[in-house]
């Protein structure tokens, strides 16, 4: 009886504080930013004029290069998501096998994940601009002597290298946990049935790790699309704006170009885009999970 009737105050006690913080930091600011997206506010002036859908027209008519940054973000996200998850899983496989000093390896691979993207960007800028040429001179290698951050393709590769380097540890930790959770009797029986190690991995282990893979995918996808700090400090969007991520583009429009209204409209578009993408991802991995159950 008593258990069924939960008074308002109990709901408020458990959900209230969380809702309050969430409303203050996210919901209300987001609503305000949606309102700004219909204005021409520059972020400074006291007078704000409503201009209807003009900002959105600007985005889709190509007057703002936001869609260019969308393609960049999409490309680099796909590359990053695949590399981070595959390499992270490989590391996890290697580090769950019979190998010495597992703990140390794990710490080592996780280490870059503990440093902020902004500072990593500065550090890698230093390495690309000063370190690589020095290595190139030492080894007489053209590979290192390229102008790494100076051409479109190498700057792209540079960003991929740093993102993978930074994030692979996260996937490794989660997938290690996942693989360790696979019951050994299942693997044993697969082996008795004559399945090869590779076959066991794909047919037995991976399906059982599906929930963890969902976590990894969700995490890497939302991080990849929100990529900001690395571009901000490593390439500054260069050369010639070819590595502007959507988040950086929005930041620049809001704060450097004094187009706050346009920037909030862009972020609304951005929001809808990643909502669609993660929605699709959740749908498919959810389906996979159900299939395996």
């Amino acid at each position: 009886m008593k258990k069924q009737k939960m008074g308002f105050w109990r709901h408020a006690l458990f959900l209230g504080p969380a809702s309050l913080a969430f409303a203050l930091a996210v919901v209300v600011p987001f609503v305000i930013s949606v309102i700004y997206s219909f204005t021409d506010w520059n972020g400074v002036a006291n007078d704000i004029k409503f201009i209807g859908l003009d900002n959105f027209v600007r985005i889709f008519s190509g007057k703002s290069n936001f869609l260019g940054s969308f393609w960049f973000t999409l490309k680099i996200s796909v590359v990053n998501i695949i590399l981070i998850n595959v390499l992270g899983t490989l590391l996890a496989v290697a580090l769950t096998s019979a190998i010495r000093a597992k703990g140390l390896f794990r710490v080592a691979f996780y280490l870059p994940n503990t440093i902020g993207g902004l500072i990593l960007g500065f550090v890698w800028q230093f390495i690309f601009v000063t370190g690589f040429p020095a290595i190139g001179q030492l080894l007489q290698s053209g590979f290192f002597n390229q102008q790494w951050l100076g051409t479109e393709s190498t700057a792209f590769i540079g960003l991929v290298i740093v993102s993978v380097w930074q994030n692979v540890g996260y996937v490794m930790v989660i997938m290690t946990a996942a693989l360790m959770g696979v019951p050994s009797d299942l693997i044993e029986s697969a082996r008795i049935d004559g399945a090869s190690a590779v076959c066991t991995f794909f047919k037995v282990k991976l399906p059982l790790c599906m929930p963890y893979i969902t976590v990894c995918l969700f995490w890497t996808i939302s991080n990849a699309f929100k990529m900001f700090e690395l571009n901000y400090s490593l390439t500054k969007g260069g050369p010639y704006g070819s590595t502007n991520s959507m988040a950086l583009y929005i930041y620049n429009d809001a704060f450097a170009n004094n187009k706050y209204g346009l920037a909030t409209a862009e972020s609304l578009v951005f929001f809808v885009i990643i909502m669609l993408i993660t929605g699709i991802q959740m749908y498919f991995t959810g389906k996979k999970e159900r299939e395996y159950q």
Binding site: L24, P29, S33, R106, F122, W165, F228, Y251, F255, L268
Partner: protein
């Protein structure tokens, strides 16, 4: 048997090589943090002949390490503690006592993970100003509670789902109120997941610079990331201060990671977002 052993030795060597390449950039950072500025720029790969400890002393003073470390630690610990508690409370409650509100609430949380922060920046300052929380550590903390809630909520929700309901039932039959059930039974069971969230969020908040940039404006309130950021400017990057400051800033979280490493993995195992 023997073949397996050789295989594992080869694997070990491959991994060792991978780790060396992987950690080389960090090694370069540490190495250069001991060199004078001229050497850093001109000979970045050379191992320093003498350890230039002045860098650390200068960085300590210029960056005001004790103060910014204190600010960062305070913000990080209070934020993370808040996130963990709030997410445990709300995830537990919406899992066990779902209502229309709790369903909307959790939907909104998922969506919130997709909002680019740049668009929230100015409105956030406006909202915090109404409550006189901007330019104060409290404001930054509340902000982290709000932004950090979503991910923590889902980790915890997964963990709550995997908890056996019988324990709670038994407690309720014994006459425990929901608060006591949560405090004495659920929280201890959620501990592994909470530790995981705790550690992950520590890294995030410790390393974040954008919230401090807008909400901790005065240099009195500066956090370590913001202070380091100031050493890199368009016109002069003070590598001889920035690198030692960077090394100093990594040490505390490194300690946290090494100490809690086993628990992180355990927490994910327990959380596991089962279904």
């Amino acid at each position: 048997m023997k073949k397996g052993k050789i295989g594992s030795v080869i694997l070990f060597l491959v991994m060792l090589l991978a780790v060396l390449v992987f950690l080389y950039p960090l090694f370069v950072v540490v190495m250069n943090s001991f060199k004078p500025l001229g050497d850093i720029i001109a000979r970045p790969l050379e191992i320093p002949g003498i350890l230039h400890l002045e860098n650390y002393i200068n960085a300590w003073k210029t960056v005001e390490i004790p103060r910014v470390m204190w600010n960062t630690a305070l913000v990080t610990v209070l934020s993370v503690t808040g996130i963990v508690l709030l997410s445990a409370m709300s995830a537990y409650w919406s899992e066990r006592h779902p209502t229309v509100y709790s369903r909307i609430f959790s939907r909104l949380l998922v969506l919130s993970m997709l909002i680019p922060f740049a668009s929230l920046m100015i409105p956030l300052v406006q909202v915090m100003r109404v409550f006189r929380l901007n330019n104060s550590l409290s404001g930054a903390i509340v902000t982290y509670w709000g932004i950090g809630l979503a991910f923590a909520f889902f980790m915890t929700q997964g963990a709550v789902k995997s908890l056996p309901y019988e324990l709670e039932e038994a407690a309720i039959v014994d006459g425990c109120g929901p608060v006591r059930v949560f405090w004495q039974i659920i929280l201890p069971l959620l501990q592994p997941t909470m530790v995981t969230i705790f550690v992950m969020d520590i890294f995030w908040i410790w390393n974040d610079f954008i919230v401090p940039l807008i909400l901790l404006d005065s240099s009195q309130l500066s956090t370590i990331q913001l202070a380091i950021k100031k050493l890199f400017s368009q016109y002069s990057s003070q590598w001889d201060l920035a690198l030692p400051a960077l090394v100093i800033s990594i040490v505390p979280i490194l300690v946290v990671f090494v100490l809690l490493q086993k628990k992180i993995v355990g927490g994910i195992l327990a959380g596991a977002v089962k279904g």
